[in-house]
Amino acid sequence: MTYQVKFEDYGYANARVRAMKSALLSEDFYEHLMRIDDPNAILETLEKTPYKTEIEEVALLKTTTSEIIDEALKRNVAKTFNKVATFVAGEAGKLVKVLLARWDLHNLKTILRGKHIGANEDEIREGLIPAGELNEALLNELVRAIDVASIVDLLATWGITYARPLVENLPRYLAKKELLTLEIALDKFYYEQVARQSRGDSLHARIVHDLMIMEIDIRNLVTLLRLQGVKFELKGEKAEVEKQVKEQIEVLFVPGGKEIKLADFINLARKKDVEAILKHLRNTSYGSILRSGMERYKETNSLSILERKLEEYLAQKAISTYRKGPLCIGIIVGYLWMKFREVVNLRIITRCKIMGVPERKIREELIFV
């Protein structure tokens, strides 16, 4: 019999989380995994880790090794995050919900995308990670809906907050049949909601809030980098064109960040290259981070190098909260990020090994914090 005790203070939850942290894989294990070339041997090695249960569960359902590993990692991460959510309550519970809300966003977008193109239910279900507030039963119900409008109706009926931006933008979607409208509205609503819900005077709230704000800044920065070289659809006179560009850029801005403001965003989105953006950002926290990736970026001309640097920076900040104190939410925040980093690293090593990606390239993709 399992007893689930919910405490509003962090002592109990942190003790449980610290115990869970001890089960995380070490860097030595990654090194060991890097030396294995045979996909079956990789799977066998993973079966000796805490992922054993999930691998055994999915071994008969999936055919290829990478599919088995992917599905097992997905199930494990969902189970772990849900488990953490079960032993926190009060403020801690609210803040953990904020941290896990990204999975609700991911699941909703997956279902909307699937319904938009008429994908079958199994195909949509494969893309879901039930680790947020929307549990498996609710997600299944949404997957069974006939179309995008029915999903929005269901969410509104259940009183799920994400229904708000969807209801507002549904007429525009129905008129143009462009999912982008709903996706951007949903993304913006998510960031606005997590920033608002994490706001508070306590140290715990500040830790989560700062991370969310940093994530918004990083999201805007990544969008800026990706907008380089994009041509906007323009019609009409010069003044009209100017207005259109501004509007199109503004739509992509996620408000609520600390260092990247709307005016900067509009200005930087029209810069000709990454160097020009970097020049403008030199006094922000992200200037030096991006600068450190510039050499490799120039060699490869791949923006993912810079994005990776920003992701590593965020992960570093999040994981460093683990040491904020024994009775602080930092332990939970740090653990959730560490767990996610572990899953990402395992996915990188196994997938890249199976596909024969050179070791040097695999190391470039791994996140070691």
Partner: protein, 219 residues
Amino acid sequence: MAEVSPTRSELIKLKLQIALAQQGCNLLKEKRDALLVEFMAVMDETLRLSSLLERAVANAQYALTVAKAVDGGVTVKSVALATKGEITIDLSGTKIMGVAIPVVQKKYSPVRSLLTRGYSVTGASSRIDETAENFEKVLDILIENADVETRLKRLGDEIQKTNRRVNALEQIVIPETQKQMKYIRMTLEERAREDLFRLKRVKRKLELKKLAMEEKVQA
């Protein structure tokens, strides 16, 4: 050898036929050479596109592997669900040395901008953008490749067909006709010799007869 009547009219007919076959053969050779020049140019283009395609597919596969590894297969699949699209292709035809060749042209490039792919810019990573862009480039080259490869195949088929015709004329039709002409010529010559011999015999007989008559008269 086919049966032929060894007559002078047949010989004249065969002479005309062989001249025509020779002329046809020369024309076909010229056509084959012209097709070969075109074929070699298309061949270079096909080789260029094939190596380009090979590189593009390798890049796309690598980008997909990295995107699936870092962002997760689930996220990539989710984004892929939002990017259903279609490619419009124009199909027309042209003629090279009388050979009908289909022309495959893309109406719009399949390489789309970040804002027109269908997924939210704020909800995907640059790894996913790079994967999408790489696969769009593969599609772009595939369409070009389809056009050039079809042209190469049609030209190849036509060269083969023309070659077969040239060979048939050079190795079978012309030598066979020449043989028939030789046979007719020999038969006609033989006939002429026989006639001459016969005439000589008749003349000799007549002379002998005349001689006998003169001897009889003298006696």
